[in-house]
């Protein structure tokens, strides 16, 4: 018999028992959905991790000052100055004692009101060095980045984040013009490309530069005192922070090297910052965490998927065995009329496979829904590659083959004479 005819026959037989068929394939439906969801989460996590790494640079290790949860008891109550975080001497110690590093680049952040003519905006001044361009993976859209000469001569020059350039200079060319912060004027020498996207606390080394004004490290030391006053947003916080960031670039990007550098940095921090006011972020370790998350989800969902598919397969086999008994007489008739054993095998196998394909299709529908729900409810990043759906469908059809073969063989092995005598 032709394949088309076989499938039509199978479809007809399934349509005869719609509810029974639907219940039979529910295990396959959920199994398939679990497989796709598992893959979607894995893919989502992996892409998220890769994106983070791409932003932070896989050779990089990030040290960031974090405000301790309780103010230091030593601070005078009247002064109300909170002192914490990375120190310049940390930078020097890193540069001189940690092996296998290329660079350690400092950054200090000061929140300011920036002004050009009558236009104003809140921005953050980054005091940093020329190497920051490369470690932070920045791209200069116009003009140039800070240079060693700027650093040397402590010039009042600045490079603008794209957002700052757009809001303060509108459509005009900012290069060569002045930007005012308080009483100081800075000459614009360059504009950065838009980083866009999330600015996330530890992760974002990119996005936050859109709203930044970058000036030489030496210039900042000269012009800003040790106390940072942030009177933005009404409140008046006074903090003493020498450095907000140190970006360390390891000599090589392999896990072993990055691991050794991370170890050395942790030892330094343990000594110098027992109050835990500095956080170390290692992109490569984030990748490992992402892999672990992925492995965890794969295990959970893989188990669910496996059990669902197994139960689904057994359910299908059970129904097909019942169907063989129910249709013993039909099998006898077909054999008498000339059906070979393989015709009978194919007939029942086609039925199971069509049944499973229906289950697979329903499962694919659910597979598009379920990752979406996980993303909305748990905030898990999920990506449903069309390829996963194809795979899931294939698995469902495979289940049909595997669990359909036994009932089909049973049907084919029936003795025609006995089968014809069957009530």
């Amino acid at each position: 018999m032709r394949p088309g005819r076989l499938l039509a026959l199978a479809w007809k037989s399934i349509a005869e028992h719609k509810l029974r068929s639907l219940l039979t394939v529910s295990g396959v439906v959920f199994g398939v959905a679990a497989v796709v969801t598992m893959l979607a989460i894995g893919e989502g996590e992996s892409q998220a991790a890769q994106e983070q790494i791409r932003r932070m640079g896989s050779n990089n290790l990030l040290l960031a000052s974090v405000k301790p949860s309780e103010p230091e008891s030593g601070t005078s109550a009247n002064a109300r100055v909170l002192s914490y975080g990375l120190l310049e001497k940390d930078l020097l110690r890193i540069q001189s004692t940690v092996p296998e590093i290329d660079l350690a680049v400092p950054r200090r952040d000061v929140p300011v009101d920036a002004r050009v003519g009558t236009r104003r905006m809140r921005a953050t001044v980054f005091g940093t060095s020329p190497q920051y361009e490369s470690v932070a993976n920045l791209e200069v859209a116009q003009g140039r980045f800070l240079s060693a000469a700027d650093e040397e001569s402590r010039l009042p020059v600045c490079v603008l984040g794209s957002e700052v350039a757009k809001r303060l200079f509108l459509n005009t060319d900012p290069l060569g013009r002045d930007l005012h912060v308080g009483d100081n004027a800075y000459r614009v020498i360059g504009v950065l490309s838009t980083r866009g996207e999330g600015t996330g606390g530890t992760a974002g080394l990119g996005g936050e530069s859109d709203a930044a004004i970058l000036i030489p490290w030496s210039t900042m030391r000269e012009r800003y005192g040790s106390i940072i006053v942030d009177n933005r947003g009404g409140s008046r916080n006074r903090e003493e922070v020498e450095l907000h960031r140190i970006t360390v670039r390891a000599a090589r990007g392999d896990e072993a090297t990055v691991g050794r550098v991370a170890g050395a940095l942790r030892r330094l921090l343990a000594e110098g910052h027992p109050q835990e006011d500095v956080r170390l972020t290692v992109p490569l370790e984030l990748l490992r965490e992402a892999r672990e998350t992925r492995a965890r989800w794969t295990l959970i969902l893989g188990t669910i998927a496996g059990i669902s598919l197994l139960v689904g397969g057994i359910g299908i086999m059970n129904i097909m065995l019942a169907s063989v008994v129910e249709r013993t007489r039909e099998i006898g008739i077909r054999r008498a009329l000339g059906a070979k054993r393989r015709h009978i095998v194919l007939q029942f196998l086609a039925e199971t496979v069509v049944l499973c394909a229906i289950g697979g299709s329903l499962g694919m529908g659910l597979s598009i829904l379920l990752p979406h729900v996980l993303t909305t409810v748990f905030g898990l990043q999920t990506i449903v590659d069309p390829w996963f759906l194809g795979l899931a469908f294939g698995i469902a059809a495979g289940i049909g083959l595997v669990f359909g073969i036994y009932p089909a063989m049973r049907a084919a092995r029936l003795d025609p004479v006995e089968a014809l005598r069957h009530a």
Partner: protein, 234 residues
């Protein structure tokens, strides 16, 4: 070869634990082409066993069976299926139609297994059904037909691949006498067209229509009658 059936020393033995039952016990039978043969005998005399052997649904324990001049007694399952499909037509007491298929689809089942293209099969099945008076019932399911109509579908189905031998097991057993006579008339027509027919029956009136009747007893032919008036010389 003009003999359709040539059974020689046919034995079919069932083993029931220690006991052996000789359902066919060294039976010889020759059926020339075009003969209409009736088989009678008490229950347990071996009629069904003989019919299963003749229909290639079962194999002899010993002896030989030539169907259409071809020895089929040692064929494997696939070859036997092929012989059933091409050379044999079955008519059963309980019709044995497939319930979820229509009249035409039922008639087409053996054609499908013979690899006949769907278009041609549809044409053939329609012709057969119309010829057997089922023209208005082509798309009906068996449950929507009377017993007589169902048996006509079964006969149409048996004729589908133009068999060398038609086998009928109590074809009127489930029918009232008027309908039974219709079916018997139909079989007479087929015999008159030169088809070779073997009918198992309990009913003398049925056997009376055949050219020859064999009476079975304990797996052997005990006696045979030949109808004198229209002796079977095709």
């Amino acid at each position: 070869m003009s003999d359709v059936v040539r059974l020689t020393e046919a034995r079919r033995t069932y083993r029931m634990g220690e006991e052996e039952v000789h359902a066919l016990d060294g039976l010889d039978l020759v059926v020339p082409r075009g003969e209409y043969l009736a088989i009678m005998g008490q229950s347990g005399s071996g009629k069904s066993t003989l019919l299963n052997i003749l229909g290639c649904l079962d194999r002899l324990t010993s002896g030989s069976y030539e169907l259409d001049g071809k020895d089929v007694s040692r064929l494997d399952d696939d070859r036997l299926s092929h012989e059933r499909n091409r050379r044999l037509g079955f008519v059963f007491q309980s019709y044995n139609l497939i319930p979820h298929l229509t009249v035409l689809e039922n008639i087409e089942v053996p054609m499908e297994y013979a690899g006949i293209r769907p278009g041609e099969a549809r044409q053939r099945s329609t012709e057969l059904a119309t010829r057997l008076g089922l023209g208005g019932r082509l798309k009906h399911r068996p449950s929507e037909l009377s017993g007589g109509q169902q048996q006509r579908v079964a006969i149409a189905r048996a004729l589908g691949n133009d068999p060398s031998l038609m086998l009928a097991d109590e074809p009127t057993g489930n029918l009232d006498s008027a309908t039974g006579i219709e079916i018997l008339d139909l079989l007479d027509t087929l015999a008159a067209e030169g088809r070779t027919l073997i009918v198992v029956t309990h009913d003398r009136k049925v056997a009376a229509r055949a050219h020859r009747t064999i009476h079975m007893l304990d797996g052997k032919i005990a006696r045979e009658d030949r109808r004198v008036a229209e002796a079977a010389t095709p």
